[in-house]
């Protein structure tokens, strides 16, 4: 008996067997691989057949097989029995949902703010777009100033519009954008501080983070709008919107700090050591070596915080700020458009708007993750 073997003929590569690719193979593999898979597939199909038509009937306008009232319809159409969503109501009240109580004659001002924001934000988020540095300065420094004066007015002959009159999607976007943009640097500094070897800085950061994380956002907002004025000297007031902005930012930065700290801890010690051994100072090694990698690792967590923050902005309605959800809620008691589906249509609309923005953030984060992934690319 001998085990010695020498290959005489090399085996040529050939195509894969037919039944491993193609739609039928896919269905067999993914949908009907085992009897229980097949059963689950059939149950899922039955559920979809049961659920989709009524939902479609509710949201699709009459023209395309549904019962909903298309924009331009009248309130009488919405009061018909079995009527679907009253989209006519949404379109009629759209400007209220977008601008709140902002004076209609001044709508051009928020419009410029929206347009300018889009104009600056899209190239900033597009990796290949040129002039990144100028773009960033314009967006992070110049744009907020322009926004403030445009919306607030009182200069260049623009009529002053106090923040009590701001509202709708505009306020939702302002709170979430300011919250997101201000909490990034704050969160990073807090995370670095918490990792610091300097005991006082470390303790302060830990205390800050643990305090804000341990308090519900609603409490923070209540404190900011009800308690804070009690402690302030008579006659001084801080704008209600500003207080909410500060509250949301600090709240979100504490969460962000913990996310970033996770990223910092995930980096191998060797990266810190290599940076030190090359003579890079603390801030340079953080800025060039540690943070770019740490932040990349925690993009999903960061975006998760941002999405949470975006949705949590609806809590400001509790202190009387008219964000998108609050305007929708206020409008739903509108007698003029009173109909059985008025409220539910409003909430559907608000939910859809929130979903659009959150979904966009989520997709963008996935795109950036793929783009920045240099670690395992071959």
């Amino acid at each position: 008996m001998t085990y010695s073997f020498v290959r005489q003929d090399m085996v040529d590569a050939r195509g894969a067997p037919v039944n491993t690719s193609g739609p039928i193979a896919w269905a067999r593999r993914s949908l009907f691989a085992t009897p229980s898979d097949a059963l689950l597939t059939i149950l899922a199909i039955v559920f979809l057949i049961w659920a989709i038509p009524p939902i479609y009937g509710f949201i699709a306008p009459t023209g395309i097989g549904g019962n909903a009232v298309a924009p331009g319809g009248t309130v009488e159409d919405c009061r018909v029995e079995n009527a679907g969503a009253c989209w006519a109501y949404i379109s009629a009240r759209m400007s209220f949902f977008i601008y709140g109580f902002y004076p209609p004659a001044e709508y051009w001002r928020p419009n410029i703010v929206f347009a300018l924001g889009a104009l600056l934000l899209f190239p900033l988020l597009t990796p290949k777009a040129p002039f990144k540095r100028t773009n960033a300065v314009l967006f992070f420094v110049v744009y907020p100033v322009i926004c403030f004066y445009l919306l607030n007015g009182g200069v260049f002959g623009m009529r002053p519009v106090p923040t009590e009159q701001w509202g709708g999607l505009m306020v939702t976007l302002i709170i979430s954008l300011v919250g997101i943009i201000c909490s990034i640097p704050l969160g990073i500094l807090l995370a670095l501080g918490r990792q610091s070897s300097l005991p006082i800085i470390k303790t302060l950061c830990v205390m800050f983070i643990e305090l804000w994380r341990a308090v519900p956002l609603i409490t923070v907002l209540f404190m900011a709008s009800v308690m804070l004025p009690l402690f302030m000297p008579q006659g001084t007031t801080v704008d209600k919107l500003l207080r909410a902005l500060v509250g949301v930012t600090l709240f979100s930065s504490a969460y962000l700090a913990e996310t970033v700290r996770g990223g910092l801890q995930a980096l191998p010690r060797g990266q810190y050591e290599a940076a030190s051994s090359l003579g890079l100072s603390y801030w340079k090694s953080m800025g060039f070596i540690i943070l770019p990698q740490a932040l990349k690792h925690v993009i999903p967590g960061i975006v998760n915080s941002f999405i949470a923050l975006f949705k949590d902005t609806s809590l400001v309605s509790i202190v009387g700020i008219f964000d998108l959800l609050n305007t929708v809620q206020a409008a739903s008691s509108d007698i003029e458009w009173s109909s059985p589906t008025q409220a539910i249509t409003g909430y559907l609309f608000a939910g859809f708007v929130f979903w659009i923005f959150c979904f966009a953030m989520s997709r963008y984060s996935i795109y950036m993750e793929r783009r920045l992934d240099t670690g395992h690319k071959r």
């Binding site: 290599a274 090359l278 003579g279 990698q293």
Partner: protein, 266 residues
Amino acid sequence: MSDTSSATVDRAIDTSHMKVSDTDVAIDVVGMHKWYGDFHVLRDINLKVMRGERIVIAGPSGSGKSTLIRCINRLEEHQEGQIIVNGTELTADLKRIDEVRREVGMVFQHFNLFPHLTILQNLTLAPIWVRGTPKAEAEATAMHYLERVKIPEQANKFPGQLSGGQQQRVAIARSLCMQPRIMLFDEPTSALDPQMVKEVLEVMISLAEEGMTMICVTHEMGFARQVANRVIFMDQGQIIEQNEPEQFFSNPQHERTKLFLSQILH
């Protein structure tokens, strides 16, 4: 413990074959001790390294070899004694630490390249931001050293796309770009396949031939024989024996050295 015996051997050899003048001394470690918590990891280390000297530190794992060279650029701090590098004594003073680190290159067992930067960016980052070298000049220097380690064609790839041996050569080039006067190698070939060990050792040998002051922690005894002026054997946190390679390998004195050599040389 063999504290006293190690100290005697140490001094006897240190001064026997060289004239000492302060400007020729690259590294001077005097009576250095280090603890990790309660664990006495380095004990009474005395080591004088002259300019252009190539020193190999050998010893069983856990003997404190890596810790010793990590103390030399202050990745670890020592609690007693002195470490003087290029005439600068290492203390808690950050300025001095930066000064020493600028002159001392370090190569790690696991390369520690920056995975988010290209090879070229890995090489130019420190020269540009620590030394203030203009970008074009830093890139020219980087390409020069990449050619020396024989991988200029990889300049625009990311570390993850290179083999282990290539990554370690890049790491060596990255240190060289800072034009250090001393190079520390912390088991540079221990994480590599045998065929890649050779390409890294070749680079290290050519560095040695140019007169670079080197301290290498390594298990490559062939390398020690070929390039070292001195081999230092450490065990239990102390220098047990040091000698010229020829003497060290053919005529070890201390029992521990004999035991160690019998285990690693076949």
